[in-house]
Symmetry: C2
Subunit: 412 residues, 2 copies
Amino acid sequence: MTQKLLAGSFQLMKSLNRSLILNTIRTEGPISRAEIAKLTKLTPPTVSNIVKELIDSDIVIESNQGESRGGRKPTMLVINGKNFFVIGIEVSPASIYSVITNLNAKIIDSVSIDIHHPITNESLLSFLSKSVKQLLDKNNWINREHILGIGVAMHGIVDIENGISIYAPGLKLRNIPIKEHLESEFNLTVKVDNDANSMALGEAWFGHGYDIGDFVCVNVGQGIGAGIIINGKLLHGNEFLSGEIGHMTIDIDGPKCSCGNYGCLEALAAGPYLAERAKKQLAMGEKSMLIHMTGHNLDKLTGELIYEAASQGDPFSINVLKETGKYLGIGLSNLIHTINPSCIIMGGGVTKSGHILLDSLKETIKQRGLTEQAKSTQVMLTKLGDQAAVIGAVCLVLVELFFTQSPQTSII
Amino acid sequence: MTQKLLAGSFQLMKSLNRSLILNTIRTEGPISRAEIAKLTKLTPPTVSNIVKELIDSDIVIESNQGESRGGRKPTMLVINGKNFFVIGIEVSPASIYSVITNLNAKIIDSVSIDIHHPITNESLLSFLSKSVKQLLDKNNWINREHILGIGVAMHGIVDIENGISIYAPGLKLRNIPIKEHLESEFNLTVKVDNDANSMALGEAWFGHGYDIGDFVCVNVGQGIGAGIIINGKLLHGNEFLSGEIGHMTIDIDGPKCSCGNYGCLEALAAGPYLAERAKKQLAMGEKSMLIHMTGHNLDKLTGELIYEAASQGDPFSINVLKETGKYLGIGLSNLIHTINPSCIIMGGGVTKSGHILLDSLKETIKQRGLTEQAKSTQVMLTKLGDQAAVIGAVCLVLVELFFTQSPQTSII
DNA sequence: GAACTTTATTAATTAATTTTATTTACTTTC
DNA sequence: GAAAGTAAATAAAATTAATTAATAAAGTTC
């Protein structure tokens, strides 16, 4: 199919300009009407008219007066960020972490609930409700009408159209109707997406992806997933499966993965498998301070312990991390040669592994890149750190507010 | 960066509708004004006005009258396809194949020039000019004013903005200024893109991708490349490197590739490497009718010969193809788990290998897919066959004509 | 304090759609 | 075979939201 085309209409024209001005204020504000006109190439009256509507609908407010540059002082405009709120939830295999933020994604309060396994769909949903209720109760000074929605970052495969978690391997659950449940419970708009996708969105709005149009955010922790941003938008693929790079084969004869195949990136580089690999090598007689650190009980070995030993100079652990960096580097090279992002942002547990793994990873990309540009693809850690996914969940709601070209997007 | 927004204006509104109507006529024509209004949800007067302009600019013509459905007969509209022409060129390592087509991409005439190695940038450019001149001379009944542009499908890495072939491994050339050269020589718009991208575009416009928004076209021949279509548009990546899946590592300890790395998909599944692998196995004493077919000179072994022997039932060759199918299947699985296309279209030399390779490839995808949907991703051969790339080259020009939202896109 | 600048708004104009009405050309029905 | 009905296409008027031009407001500069 060739590209889809919109029909032009007065409504479309207006809503395009409305979004354009709203987003210019969001990203450039505080900014004057005159400056908006210059940046967007719209005419001053058009800007004035639309700004008036935005102020009427309470999403934009006039702030202080700016400095004169040889004439009348400009009136600065900003998003009315502090009076409206969004709830973001990150569901990881071990816990439910929920936050309430203002429109600038500044976290006002948070609650965390541990998940005990095994768990059922019903109890997960009730934990989600409980988590939201706690946030609302703790912050009952917030006008319920001023809460714009709930965003949920869920690990695994998510049907974003219906807000259903199709498969959550970390919880061993399937087909959880998150959107339906939360919407009926709280009468708020609910958006659900995959955790890596959410992280990517968070970085695009408030992190290192702020002025990059095409990038990938790779989440390396219990599993490995990627959020792919193309032209400032998330790529979801035909069946919500895009970015499942944990199950990219990079070594046909490699170790067995939980998915049943052999040599998946995840089985070579994700936290639990990393520990598994080290365990095998130690069992075969390799020396390492890890043996002492685990009290001679190798079942206690985790990725985190290996990070720690490596930072203390343990040669065995350093080598394990170097190997892991190489595997990840190969996975990322494959990504570079497939979608060629301008930058790769790393998030998840791996961000705590220090420079050894990262250096090895960068070295591998340099070695494997097909061209100079590929070799020098930038790799960096998330700016939002542990908050990337939950901030991303908040952004799922913000996208609707700022980019849905509907003139009715009055906040109240 | 968050998504980019257009500024709304009367011009935009008009040109969106112009494109919408033009493409509705292209894809649905012959079609009446009334039917266009229904399909596009534009009002009848809007359609009438714009159609009048399209007819004035000669890109649309009224054809016969349609059947009445209980009232006035509709006047059917079609693209004035037969009076305008596009030149398409495919530059492969061995030859330059050029065609002239009408707007329906129907080939009117073609010329082919063999390339003898080694070759320089200058002589390649002069061959390109010669090729176009031959086409023009052979078809001098065609009004030069009615030729809309030249599209070039070039193997390797292409800077599509400047129309420069950055690296053409099959010719061992770099930085060939194709667009600049041909534009100054013929005073026609010139578009250059990678061969796999062109194939994908050709299939999107006139092949199996006709009603699919997201798909991938994989070209397996001397090398392996993919053209990725997302939302009906080609993905080029940050440095024109997207789709270079030939250099995706699928076997860390695999054979050495021309790029210097080990275990690239290309080094396991592309034509020349396929022959290489078979040669090694035969040299080690394996039995096969290939030994007879090459007259005991294994240096004559090619991918094509292996296809032929396999189709005659040679067990050794069948096994080689099965292996190759498995490797390709792994590469495609990686693609499915990264961008999750709704369908994969195979083109290039591999299309001649028969069902053995393809069955093995499909089997591998079924085995490796993470979900039922991934497992059942459709794989098919190009509809346009050997013409896919050159028709795609033509489409590079058609994209400009049909999708550039400029009111001045008067053909003449 | 007169002249100039920048910001913002108002009024008039313009472009393109939409709505409503009309014409054209056919089919159906009595 | 004339009247009634229906669909296609166009014409005229109304509407929308932009652009252009003019003006007001609030400064700065010399």
